[in-house]
Symmetry: C2
Subunit: 670 residues, 2 copies
Amino acid sequence: MTSDIVDGGPDGSAAVPHPAWLPTAAFAPIGRRRVAVVLPDGNDDAEVAATVRREVAAATSAHGGSVVGPDEHPDLVLVLEPTATGSGFRVVRDGDRLTVSAARPTALLHGLFHVVRLGEAAFDGPDGDEQHSPVSGLRMLNHWDNVASHPRHGQVERGYSGGSIFYADGAVRTDLSRVAAYARLLAAIGIDQVAINNVNVAAREARLLTDGLDDVARIAAVLRPYGIRTHLSVSFASPITLGGLTTSDPLDADVRTWWRDTAARVWGAVGDFGGFVVKADSEGQPGPFAYGRDHADGANMLAEAVAPYGGLIHWRAFVYNHRQDWRDRSTDRARAAFDHFAPLDGHFAENVVVQVKHGPMDFQVREPVSPLLAALPRTRVALELQVTQEYTGQQRHAVYLGPEWSEILRWQARGDGTPTVAEDVARAGGFTAVSNVGDDPYWTGHPFAQANLYAFGRLAWDPTLDPSDLLDEWVTLTFPGAPAALREAIHAILDESWLTYEQYTTPLGVGFMVRPGHHYGPDVDGYEYTPWGTYHFADRDGVGVDRSSATGTGYAGQYPEPWRDVYESAESCPDELLLFFHHVPYTHVLHSGTTVIQHIYDTHFAGVERVERMVEAWESVAHLTDDDLTARVRERLAEQLRSAVEWRDQVNTYFWRKSGIADAHGRVIH
Amino acid sequence: MTSDIVDGGPDGSAAVPHPAWLPTAAFAPIGRRRVAVVLPDGNDDAEVAATVRREVAAATSAHGGSVVGPDEHPDLVLVLEPTATGSGFRVVRDGDRLTVSAARPTALLHGLFHVVRLGEAAFDGPDGDEQHSPVSGLRMLNHWDNVASHPRHGQVERGYSGGSIFYADGAVRTDLSRVAAYARLLAAIGIDQVAINNVNVAAREARLLTDGLDDVARIAAVLRPYGIRTHLSVSFASPITLGGLTTSDPLDADVRTWWRDTAARVWGAVGDFGGFVVKADSEGQPGPFAYGRDHADGANMLAEAVAPYGGLIHWRAFVYNHRQDWRDRSTDRARAAFDHFAPLDGHFAENVVVQVKHGPMDFQVREPVSPLLAALPRTRVALELQVTQEYTGQQRHAVYLGPEWSEILRWQARGDGTPTVAEDVARAGGFTAVSNVGDDPYWTGHPFAQANLYAFGRLAWDPTLDPSDLLDEWVTLTFPGAPAALREAIHAILDESWLTYEQYTTPLGVGFMVRPGHHYGPDVDGYEYTPWGTYHFADRDGVGVDRSSATGTGYAGQYPEPWRDVYESAESCPDELLLFFHHVPYTHVLHSGTTVIQHIYDTHFAGVERVERMVEAWESVAHLTDDDLTARVRERLAEQLRSAVEWRDQVNTYFWRKSGIADAHGRVIH
């Protein structure tokens, strides 16, 4: 079989990228029917309404149906009812007629894609009346894309999918058709906000805020028809670097004026602009600390500037000392976000959203849920996830992150029966994640990494969805009409791939052990003697970080009960987080009944075996899809297996050399 | 005091770089005398002869002396005697007259600088008649300079002194005055050959050989008046990449023709061109292996092309498998050069010089001398040293390498009373080294790193010179008229600095333990699980590489007696190389009487203390020199101390965690 991807132009982008979860075939159930689109004149968001019309026209044109009037016996009616209430859409099935209605065009578009997702089933079931609303109005993607290619990070920081869809050759792309296709994919999973540049704001990128506004407006114009608002990441030092002031002190009157004037120009250029994302006082980015101000001072000053336009300030809580002394065991990076932000609860302006990474460290394959998420009851909080697989295989490894995110979203910070993380953040904040797309023909490097972007959008809409079900949704949409064997194989490859990755990489929550800088592949001591605060403290007797309150850094004490007690003791701490919270001997016996050292050996052998089964699963069905896709997945799985073996051998050898304890099963450890 | 360095133009180069060992004051003993220069008309190398005249004119003009005729009672006569024999110069002191004579202008220029070096003492001593000749006619510097700045290595690979003096902005510099000043410094230490581009030949640099010949001729024209011949590093794949052929097989007729034609064009452009340097089949560079040919096939084909012009092929023996599997303990990178080249002895053409690194690995602070140097009796061999301090502090650390090189040069491969390495290579080959200069105002980043370039040139002329004496020579010339306290402090800082560096870095010859890629600063396991073949195999019981013939890789067996036996046994192996040759328990007792683990602790504490004394020494005299120099040295020494502490703590902690053996003196190990 050949692919429907067409090789692209000289910039390496595909002329026709992979359709992902919106192949033409997915529109057949709608497209072969009679569809009425009822849009009152003069509604807001007319461009989104036009998108609904265009989608229906394209679907019916492709599949032989027709666009009809509401009185012409339509099978499907899409109707905008400006007087309705609610942020979602309503689906009513009444005899032969399916009616999707919404108060706003964007919700109607979401409703249309809901029907696409259901396929024939949308039309087949019993009569009914359902309201579908997202739990939060903040479902956002952050792009770490650079306008000018960074000497070390390239066009997209932590990007594993080629170049940026927004930028090339140091400028915003002339041809933004990939951005339009991306916006359509996002609309289909309910994303409604996008920040278009890297949170590490370098000189060229900073200027998007001022002399780059025409370019920002061009991008916003492409996102707008899909109900997506554009945001910028901005540098806190902009008043100095762009405004020519001598300070960016948030309490300085000139600084406040500069930001107010700047906001006026931004919203003048993009009337529905969303707001600013700010990484302040973090990993070398400027911030309010330089002036003896706190993060509330910094965020609120910006919030004041954007408030007249309904703008938001997305203020990242990823603040820690990245020039730590590895000799100093009292400083614990895991504590930092809580220590900085928990005391500021209630101090932030109404239009500030504090954006908190899911764990206290940095998107590791396994971390405890950040205690900060439960420590800001009087603050709007957004959960930050990372769709781009920085520490989870960089889209060379098939790792489906839906189950990890689901675990985080369902976690109850105050114990059974108390609100979940999802409920906590949905209350006034929302969900954000770092995107994983680029100008790669498959969007995401590994074709299967599309599933992560898909799952993030769907979970941000409804965090109670089952990640395994979402995987099936994605497979069914992306491989329409595929034989069951192919769908089942892809499901099998991805379903537990997160746990597989955990098995062959860092054990028991200890994290890192990656090659410094690019973060790919094993290097057990790679960060052990660095200033980054990411240590495992392995010696000849044991391994792990003592974060107890009794004898360690006290991080466990940042949790409310019952978790504070659970994590405090090595006896009650869950196995998978043991080394995150405790330094234990290699002979410590886990709840699973095995010792720590034997667990390390066992999981690393098992992880590689599971990757071998993934390879076998793909080979058994690879002939059922097109050649390009087959080849791409095969090449990625081969690299995943090679890398898993490397992880297994380096980790096992490292701990064998240190512990001197042999594998109970006598397997080869080099 | 203020510096005589003048800040430079927009390209960051100093308009007037530091005079290094040729300050105007050094010419006073000559310059205030009556000097006659006697040059017969029509001699070869007229440009060099003109340099002799120019130097004398400048010196007498600066210091009030005069240029006189040979019959006008000169104090100093410089006379070219084309009928004389010998490659050096003759110095005759007869009453009040000093006469320097030579058969060739370049040797006369060397004689002039000899008098500069001696200063007043040249004129003061008793009558005498001395012949000074270099032990070898090959005293060469290799530049690893790139024309186009490399994305990772920058303008100069392993360069720690700013940009290239030859290239800027992707082209040969328009202003080559720095190259002229450099050539003058080299002539003063006897260097007579320079290769002007990186042995890792990238696309832009490859083209120097063809459409860049005008530029090469411009550089050669600047080097020529100082008696220095220009060489190029070339890519073995040039027939393909530049010639459009489909092969670079050395036995292919078209390939041979292409190289012959190319050589004709090169010598057509630069009549006194020196030859080609080739890094083949090494670290990804192309070579004859691709065609099933050996290195003699490759080198001899090039030799044939350049022979008509008296050209040389400098063929590097740095060939090893850089994609080794760390799990495979039978492969030993240390063996590689010998294994590849020793069997080819006698197979190389007469105008091929095989260029052999001083040790079997890669310019570590301590390695055994390469056994290959003693294994090629029927081959012209050049010893390759590294003046640029890649693994010895990168010119941020003050490390005087003269003592290391002297040890290597004096080493007797077949035991006491047999020829030294210097004698072996001087027989038909010579001495080459990687240069350490750039467009830094001090030439070498660390001002004291000038001493290494100085010592290399002097040792290449006469390898029996005492490195401590050479240090005094350099200090005296470079700081003319300085108070004794300043000269003594600089001598004290540098004299044993090589051993100091060894103390605080990798112990007992084990090598590496540096951060991968840039090679600066400690990372004990940094290369332990990589494909580079550079391992220490530390586990909880011991450390080191077993290279014995009895139980290890057999590398020790590559040495002739007596070293084969000396290195074979841990009992007879010298302490400083113990871990290079043997894997021993931490409790192994050294000849020094201490255990390996205690030696590691002791030397690392001692090394830092010695750097502290270096800092104190400088602070005690820093006011005696100019402010710029004071500040530059102070900043470098501060970094050296910081880095030495980091090395001490990481190495000590690493081995403490692994061995569990406490420091006998109870000092702080983190």
